[in-house]
């Protein structure tokens, strides 16, 4: 674990309810540069909600969210306040998100899926964006798919394209929301391989996953969530040999 890396993401006392049901009860979490953090836990434990609040797809009800010490949301007089739009736009550039069901743009070619946001949002010259995209595609083993459309690709290829799309904006931290849950075991392998390569390059990543073995091999830290709180947190060895009954029971189900 790179203890010296600066803190990229800091979440303090994050709370979120939907229709009066508390999904996140009091989540505090900080992630340093170069760290790979996996979040595991049963369905409905709030893992995805945590990711969606951290990426600002959902607004949180309370607590603090900051990227590189810049506060995106904080509490003021007991209410959660978000930073002004312009500042949020800057903060947004820090992170990328890979979805469970890819959410590629079907009317754009693979190349355009990857280059459109850099060109339109970040005003990167088109040539440069395409250069960047080609490098990413080569790195992810998709060089021959630049002109294909998402519907012509397998699920694994689509997910790799969506990883390339997120990386093209050069985020400092990349979130994955169950990136392989929509894939069969074979395709899962090719996506996990790509994520492992990113880890080797010290990409900072937060991964919500049900792939226990993968989380164990790859993570610097594993977080076990249940009922909206972090029940246990530690290195893979600590979590896999945890004394906590619930953690043991949960992990045991995957190892049998």
């Amino acid at each position: 674990m790179s203890e010296e890396g600066k803190i990229l993401l800091q979440i303090e006392h994050m709370k979120k309810s939907f229709d009066g049901v508390e999904i996140l009860k009091d989540i505090s979490l900080s992630v340093r540069e170069g760290e790979v953090v996996s979040i595991i836990g049963p369905s409905g434990s709030g893992k995805s909600t945590l990711l969606r609040c951290a990426t600002m797809l959902e607004t949180m009800d309370g607590g603090t969210l900051s990227y590189l010490s810049e506060k995106a949301a904080y509490e003021e007089n007991g209410r959660c306040v978000y930073a002004p739009k312009a500042k949020l736009k800057e903060i947004h550039k820090n992170f990328g998100l890979v979805f469970q069901n890819f959410n590629l743009f079907p009317h754009y070619s693979v190349m355009k899926n990857i280059t459109d946001a850099p060109v339109v949002v970040d005003k990167v010259p088109k040539k440069e964006a395409e250069e960047r995209a080609r490098k990413l595609l080569a790195q992810l083993g998709l060089s021959d798919k630049a002109d294909a459309y998402p519907c012509q690709l397998s699920g694994g290829q689509q997910q790799r394209v969506s990883i390339a799309r997120a990386l093209a904006l050069q985020p400092k931290i990349l979130f994955f929301d169950e990136p392989t849950s929509a894939l069969d075991p074979e395709l899962t392998g090719e996506v996990l391989k790509v994520i492992k390569e990113l880890a080797r390059e010290h990409m900072t990543m937060i991964i919500v996953t049900h792939e226990m073995q993968f989380a164990r091999e790859l993570s610097d830290r594993i977080i076990f969530m249940e009922q909206g709180i972090i029940q246990a947190e530690g290195t893979p060895e600590e979590i896999f040999h945890c004394e906590n009954d619930r953690v043991r029971e949960f992990i045991g189900k995957f190892q049998s």
Partner: protein
């Protein structure tokens, strides 16, 4: 009257019919999008007004709307507007078709998976960029079949302009038929409408095919 004069007269009427058709599309397609936005607005007043607009314009006869639009300036406001016939027709048609198009747009927009919006948002697109670059192109593909339907109906509906004695094809055909005591001009008009719609359907099919490169 010889057959060639009849044809010539009908062709002239056809020109006016085509004018009504294209001008109606030109105004009602964007207006429909605006109404669709109103219909989906977070603002309750805008939403209600749009809803009433759609309800009334779809719920009353187009022929009646034509007459109201044409005569309202005089009967309601006591205004004398010179040569208002053609503009009145275009206004009534555009208002009426916008209501139908609005519902088609709305259906298309609401059918878009939320994941497309979320992906665009995480990538940093603004709301306008998301709509123009990501949502609208996909919505157009989805709504093309119902839009084709409306467009074909519009070709035939242009004949309603006869209530304001506009010299479009149907009015011409009826006049000539009465004068010549022959059903022939009406039959020819029918063929012309059919051919017009054949072209419309073919063009729309081409556009649909050109968007078939993705699913």
């Amino acid at each position: 009257m010889t057959l060639s004069t009849i044809l010539l007269q009908l062709m002239k009427g056809m020109g006016v019919t085509a004018e009504i058709f294209f001008l109606t599309l030109l105004f009602s397609l964007p207006l429909g999008l605006l109404v669709a936005f109103g219909r989906m607005s977070k603002n309750g007043i805008i939403r209600t007004v749009s809803k009433i607009y759609i309800s009334v314009l779809r719920g009353t006869p187009l022929m009646l709307q034509l007459i109201v639009v044409y005569f309202a300036p005089f009967y309601v406001f006591h205004l004398k507007v010179g040569n208002y016939r053609f503009p009145a027709i275009i206004i009534a048609f555009a208002l009426n078709y916008a209501a139908y198009f609005a519902e088609i747009y709305r259906a298309g927009i609401e059918s878009m998976p939320v994941g497309q919006y979320e992906a665009a948002r995480v990538l940093g697109y603004s709301r306008l960029q998301t709509f123009v670059r990501i949502i609208l192109p996909q919505v157009i593909k989805r709504i093309l079949p119902p839009v084709t339907n409306e467009t074909i109906t519009l070709v035939k509906d242009t004949s309603l302009a006869f209530v304001l004695a506009q010299a479009e094809m149907f009015t011409m055909a009826k006049q000539i038929a009465a004068k010549e005591t022959s059903i022939m001009p009406l039959m020819i008009a029918g063929v012309f409408y059919y051919l017009f719609n054949l072209i419309v359907a073919t063009v729309m099919e081409r556009i649909e095919k050109s968007l078939n490169y993705y699913k």
